[in-house]
């Protein structure tokens, strides 16, 4: 009996020895701060004082009832997310299908499209600031095309597309390689069988390939959705939320609320809302997309 118990105790200790470091690290860096944020969202707190005054739902009331800037950021983030989810997935899937076919040098091409993805988004923003200003001036001188004379970062109506373009340029390679990996799992014999049955290229793609790579689509849409909703770095360096407040995303708004105007309590309320929004949209998306996945 005692031997059994000692063995159990020993097993428990070994279990703790293996799992405690990860548990401690995750608790400290993620879970405790997250719970603290939830608590802080019900307080007034300037970040400097120790004191946090409990104010109930005041922060949430302000957020939902009179924060124009937040709702503007909310709207822009949703538009940006929608645009980038559609653009990046369509482009990456199309390119992946072409690259997966029988062409020379596809590894070189795949590697080339992936290059922007290894550069930090902060730097990407600065590179494109250069292209949009000095670069486009020279393009205009060379071509005379009006499109290069537009104020790509200064015009409220255009800046959305500039941000979209830069995000697409940065992330396309990542989604491309995920789709290519997905396409490579499609069994060759299924494709050949459909060719014998006389299905043309388009039919083959929509009836065979697309349903079979649904898992890749689920994954890519999931990532592009959450990356869009979390957009921060590229906005920070490319437009810094401007012109005016038109390209401020929720993440940037949270950052400013807390670290620029020192309303930490209010900032945490916004971050709780961001968390819920991403959680709900992601769960919905995965549910809807999972239902369309088929087994081979």
């Amino acid at each position: 009996m005692t031997q059994l118990r000692r063995k159990q105790l020993n097993r428990g200790l070994v279990f703790l020895l293996f799992t405690l470091p990860a548990f401690a690290a995750i608790l400290v860096s993620v879970e405790i701060p997250f719970l603290m944020s939830v608590v802080s969202s019900f307080t007034k707190w300037n970040g400097l004082d120790k004191a946090q005054t409990f104010i109930g739902l005041e922060n949430y009331k302000e957020l939902f009832l009179d924060d124009q800037d937040m709702w503007k950021a909310f709207g822009f983030t949703l538009r940006l997310t929608l645009g980038s989810v559609i653009a990046v997935n369509l482009c990456a899937l199309l390119l992946a299908v072409i690259l997966d076919s029988d062409i020379k040098g596809k590894n070189v091409l795949r590697a080339a499209f992936y290059v922007p993805n290894i550069i930090s988004l902060i730097i990407i923003g600065y590179i494109w600031r250069f292209i949009f200003s000095a670069g486009f001036d020279s393009f205009y001188q060379k071509t005379g095309w009006e499109i290069f004379m537009l104020s790509w970062l200064g015009d409220v109506n255009i800046v959305y597309f500039s941000v979209l373009l830069v995000s697409l340029w940065h992330s396309l390679g990542f989604y491309l390689v995920v789709y290519i990996a997905g396409l490579q799992t499609v069994p060759r014999d299924l494709i050949e069988a459909s060719m014998i049955d006389g299905a043309n290229r388009t039919k083959r793609f929509f009836r065979i390939t697309l349903p079979l790579i649904m898992p890749s689509i689920t994954v890519c849409v999931f990532h592009s959705l959450s990356n869009g909703l979390k957009a921060f770095d590229v906005i920070f360096s490319l437009t810094n939320g401007g012109p005016g407040n038109t390209t401020t995303t929720i993440a940037l708004d949270i950052y400013r609320t807390a670290f620029v105007i020192n309303r930490f309590g209010y900032g945490t309320a916004k971050s709780v809302v961001l968390f819920l929004m991403i959680l709900i949209l992601s769960i919905l998306q995965v549910r809807v997309f999972k239902r369309r996945e088929v087994e081979v």
Binding site: V14, F15, F18, T19, P21, A22, F23, A25, I26, V28, S29, E31, P33, F34, M36, S37, S40, I98, S101, D102, I103, A111, A112, F113, Y114, V115, P116, I118, I119, S120, L121, I122, I123, I127, F130, I131, A134, G135, D137, S138, W169, V177, V178, V219, H223, S226, L229, K230, F232, S237, I250, I254, Y255, A258, S271, V272, L274, F275, I278, S282
Partner: protein
């Protein structure tokens, strides 16, 4: 082997043109970092008349490049090693232990995959301050342990299932301690996952901006390269020749890393994406 038909050749050519256009902005960065300021203002597209290395000397000095390079290297190394260590240990044990407590622990440890960084960053700064993890690259590296471990642990947890349990049992019967059995027998077999984990975390930590901004920007000596680049651009909003030299210096390590380990990087990133 099929013969390449004419349309296939056409598609290939079009794709290569497209890829060239795709990377053209980076080409512009490279050529303009070697120009004088007046050359840039007259024509961005022209090649430099002579290579102006002074741009790089200037950027190198003003950015304080060597120091911030080493800071970034330190934070990334500490972060990546820690993530690999704690997540492989936990992922292995949680995969092997099939009890209710083990399952609950697993859920607690992977839950952060659903929590976006921006939703707890404000309080994270407070916690980091209290634990004195603020203002040093080492502290930044330690903060990454928890931030990177959930995904890594999840990947290890899945991979351990394909390693036969008999291997652990044999090692234990032969008298190895549990830790030794893990490090000498199991861990080497998990190498493909380790490669993915290292790749994903290296790319992320090296390029991360927001967390370093929150915990390091107060202390001049301990900035990372991304932060230094950010400050540097604040100085040179118009002098594109300096700015582009700074860009090139900042992205060079990542580009070299990518060129030397390209196959592993693409494979690793795909593995990480698909696992979630």
């Amino acid at each position: 082997m099929k013969k390449h038909s004419l349309p296939a050749t056409m598609v290939t050519i079009v794709l290569f043109i497209l890829a060239t256009a795709y990377l053209y902005p980076l080409f512009l960065v490279v050529i303009n970092s070697f120009k004088t300021f007046s050359e840039i203002t007259s024509n961005v597209l022209a090649l430099p008349k002579r290579l102006v290395w002074e741009n790089f000397q200037n950027a190198f000095k003003i950015m304080n490049y060597p120091r911030y390079f080493l800071n970034t290297l330190l934070a990334t190394t500490v972060g990546v090693c820690g993530v690999v260590l704690v997540s492989s240990l936990a992922g292995y044990k949680l995969s092997r232990t099939k009890t209710r407590y083990s399952f609950i622990m697993f859920m607690i440890l992977i839950a952060p995959m659903m929590i976006p960084f921006h939703s707890f960053m404000i309080s994270l700064v407070k916690v980091a301050k209290q634990l004195h993890l603020i203002g040093s690259p080492l502290g930044l590296g330690v903060l990454y342990w928890g931030l990177g471990s959930s995904l890594a642990l999840f990947m290890y947890h899945g991979a351990v299932k394909s390693v036969p349990q008999e291997l652990d049992d044999c090692a234990l019967i032969d008298g190895a301690s549990p830790l030794r059995a893990f490090f000498q027998i199991i861990f080497p077999l998990l190498q493909p996952v380790t490669v993915s984990v290292v790749v994903i975390n290296t790319m992320w930590m090296w390029n991360d901006f927001l967390l370093p901004l929150l915990v390091l920007s107060g202390s001049k000596k301990s900035l990372t390269l991304q932060l230094a680049a950010y400050n540097f651009f604040g100085l040179y909003k118009v002098e594109w020749n300096f700015a582009m030299a700074g860009v090139l210096l900042t992205i060079l390590p990542a580009i070299l890393f990518y060129l030397s380990l390209q196959r592993y990087i693409i494979k690793g990133m795909v593995a990480g994406a698909v696992k979630t």
